[in-house]
Amino acid sequence: MSLLAVSDLHTHYAGPSGTLRAVDDVSLTVEDGETVGLVGESGCGKSTLGKTITRLVAPTKGSIVFKQEDITRISERSLRPVRRRLQMIFQDPFGSLNPRQNIRDILTAPLVVHGYGNRAERAKRVEALIDRVGLPRTALSRYPHEFSGGQRQRIGIARALILDPELVVCDEPVSALDLSIQAQILNLLSSMKKDLGLSYLFISHDLSVVRYFTDRVLVMYLGRIVESADNRTLWAQPKHPYTRALMDAVPDPSRRRQAAPISGDLPSPQNIPSGCRFHPRCPLATDICRTVDPALTSFGPTHQVACHHADAA
């Protein structure tokens, strides 16, 4: 049984100018101890998917099964014990930290809510976490605005890990960090994973980080998973034209002022193109792409692609 199994998930936002299909029929699994990467263009629905899985946003359709319990529609109250095991590190560390609480209070709050230990044990746990994420203990009496962007991100990580979760949805956890702290945080997340048997759904747009840090990768485009493969296979044989465009766009230090690799109008999730949703920007598009929505098809045991011309790769 998978630790997390998401099936046919849809998350729509209602707006004055129509429905926005941010997550549009996604199925995925995360196994015990696995790190699954989620990459894709800005606005394609990664954060929404992460927030739906952690039930911070309500799903429109589909199901989320965590540790064999269907949590898609359970009440806030029944969610509480689930939340302890299923945590999220947020993309915007500042927006997610209460500016009027000092760091000690921010980190203690989840312990209190979940009835962890007594006062002394809570204080000890908070100190252990602040040490672990590499901040000085003096940070505990300070407020979020007194920290740099990278330091705030560590606070967000400490908060997500303080309850000893089993699955953590990490939404761009290192994109605000410089390389040396990024290395420390990735090493920290990976040693936590080893020591505590954690699993991660790891959202990032930095392909070199995803390549280093994940076991399997999902590529998302406009609300849909368009390619899924184990790490090595994806880098050896990317098949979806969008995946290949992503890989080509990685800044190449040997080239100066490299032009953007894919252009074309950015599609809107309020108006998803017919057929294959990538067709208006795809170099391989033919007639069938404009009319028939390609299903995820297997190319080997761990590799699935939703593209009519995946063979051309």
């Binding site: 500042f94 962007g149 410089d178 390389l179 040396s180 290395a183 280093y212 840090f213 100066r256 599609p267």
Partner: protein
């Protein structure tokens, strides 16, 4: 640099009651130049940018230095003059778009505000221009999105809205604090392309604060490396990456997962610089000394001067500098 200097920062020091996050910082930016600032998280990059905008938090004080911007000392301007400069001649893209966008105003309102204030456009003309700007930063369906509130946008879209606001009045200096961190590579490339086009078309100078070294090599003309409030190295990007000199810069480059493409977490950890920048507090000598693999006792007694190991290059490390001199001597040059 053949172009005239647009901005010149000299000996800038910013002080909070407990710490000095920016110390004796000097650098120049010419018209049309892109200067990248890289450095450890917490090294004072954002505060430097805020000092240039005269937007430092109240608790902060500038205790020394000057900031010359096209002949004017920004630190001497009164609030009114600085306000008319800000947004029009100097603009900034903030690091955290969600906190710098007003949550109760539509993004259209926020873009048109500065157009009406600085350019005197009518409401209608400002709206049209705002739609153009959203299109320029590649927000899909801009005529619809203009009436959205910030929370209705994805992280990357908010960042692009910030860029639209910043370039609305065609500034002469744009300070971009991590402008593409929330963006995936394809849009990142488009946004940098856009900033670069503006730089060329308007001879705009660009200060690019980023931790993405791939971006630095590709887009910057010059790089400043900061550590604990100080400039520890400065170089042209090719030289910096081919031959990093300061032990901090070397550690930074070694930490990159990009270094070895097929290196995986199951193969082992990434190379860290042990310790944390906090160790610089109270250090009388080199701020990097507590973490430095080649530290000598002399490093801890005085702050290293910026030395000139080669043309267009500065490094604040006497140990590395002496090593270089020995190499030069050994080759009989």
């Amino acid at each position: 640099m053949a172009n005239a200097s647009l901005l010149s920062v000299r000996d800038l020091t910013v002080k909070f009651p407990r710490i000095e996050p920016v110390r004796n910082l000097s650098f120049d930016v010419s018209e049309g130049e892109t200067l990248a600032i890289v450095g450890e998280s917490g090294s004072g990059k954002s505060l430097t940018a805020l000092a240039l905008m005269r937007l430092l938090p109240k608790a902060a004080q500038i205790t020394s230095g000057r900031i010359d911007f096209s002949g004017r000392d920004l630190l001497k301007l009164d609030d009114r003059s600085i306000r008319s400069l800000r947004g029009k001649e100097i603009a900034m893209i903030f690091q955290e778009p969600m906190t710098s966008l007003n949550p109760v105003l539509t993004i259209g309102r926020q873009i048109t505000e500065s157009l009406r204030l600085h350019e005197g456009l009518s409401a209608k003309a400002a709206r049209l221009r705002a739609i153009e700007l959203l299109d320029l930063v590649r927000i899909p369906a801009p005529h619809k999105r203009i009436d959205d509130y910030p929370h209705q946008l994805s992280g990357g879209m908010r960042q692009r809205v910030m860029i639209a606001i910043a370039v609305a009045c065609r500034p002469r200096l744009l300070i971009a604090d991590e402008p593409t961190t929330a963006l995936d590579v394809t849009i990142q490339a488009q946004v940098l392309d856009l900033l670069d086009r503006l730089r060329r078309e308007l001879s705009m100078a660009l200060i690019l604060i980023t931790h993405d070294l791939g971006i630095v090599t590709q887009w910057a003309d010059n790089v400043v490396v900061m550590y604990a409030g100080r400039k520890v190295e400065q170089a042209l990007p090719e030289a910096l990456f081919a031959d990093p000199l300061h032990p901090y810069t070397r550690g930074l480059l070694n930490a990159s997962p990009r270094l070895k493409d097929d290196y995986h977490y199951t193969d082992g950890p990434l190379t860290e610089i042990p310790g944390s920048i906090v160790s610089a507090i109270g250090e009388n000598g080199c701020p990097f000394a507590p973490r430095c693999p080649i530290v000598r006792s002399g490093c801890r007694t005085r702050v290293p001067d910026l030395l000139v190991p080669a043309e267009d290059r500065l490094v604040a490390c006497p140990v590395i500098f002496a090593e270089g001199e020995r190499h030069v001597a050994a080759r009989g040059l």
